[in-house]
Amino acid sequence: NAGVTQTPKFRILKIGQSMTLQCAQDMNHNYMYWYRQDPGMGLKLIYYSVGAGITDKGEVPNGYNVSRSTTEDFPLRLELAAPSQTSVYFCASGRGLGPPQETQYFGPGTRLLVL
């Protein structure tokens, strides 16, 4: 199993450009998450999904959109990129079992620089 994969690994965007960060998992997990990680700030939840067709906002959703058409894929869309969106983005998936069984499996991250 590849686990959680993310593409691209690194991207530079100009202010106002748009892009889609791709995330795929092959573990048949219903729950998927998008986080951003800024230095010294830990991980902040952007959006999450509990199954195909079902998404909801996390803590910092402004400037982002998501869709979940299949169990495997959970792309994150950035519209009108701003310097404040410079960050490392992590996708994660889990079974949604709740503690103590719950484990979130993280992808390797996408490093985004907006200039």
């Binding site: 959680v4 729950y31 998450y33 986080y35 010294g40 700030m41 830990g42 991980l43 902040k44 939840l45 999450y48 509990v50 909801d56 996390g58 803590e59 992590f90 994660a92 889990g94 949604g96 079992l97 709740g98 503690p99 103590p100 719950e102 484990t103 979130q104 993280f106 992808g107 390797p108 991250g109």
Partner: protein
């Protein structure tokens, strides 16, 4: 909004020393997880603690959940260079209902162990 404060933010020690990382909140969590993250990779789950006062050991790492389930600690005995990394605590909300696996992360502790 539930917040988790980790301390210290940075820790630089010599091989063989002991260390403790703290994770504190004014909120109650249903469980607390500890993750380790290496440069260029996503976080990887180390342990989940669920019961107030619970202590779990993972080789040289000892994890404790506070009696009131508001805080946790990670103690490493005889640290080794391979322990170097970013350590993150993450709490699952004590929401009573379905939390959809959403986690609140601390800001992380960067540990460097020098040979």
């Amino acid at each position: 909004t539930q917040l988790l404060e980790q301390s210290p933010q940075f820790l630089s020690i010599q091989e063989g020393e002991n260390l403790t990382v703290y994770c504190n909140s004014s909120s109650v969590f249903s469980s607390l997880q500890w993750y380790r993250q290496e440069p260029g990779e996503g976080p990887v789950l180390l342990v989940t603690v669920v019961t107030g006062g619970e202590v779990k050991k993972l080789k040289r790492l000892t994890f404790q959940f506070g009696d009131a389930r508001k805080d946790s600690s990670l103690h490493i005995t005889a640290a080794q260079p391979g322990d170097t990394g970013l350590y993150l605590c993450a709490g699952a909300p004590n929401a009573g209902g379905t939390s959809y696996g959403k986690l609140t992360f601390g800001q992380g502790t960067i540990l460097t162990v020098h040979p």
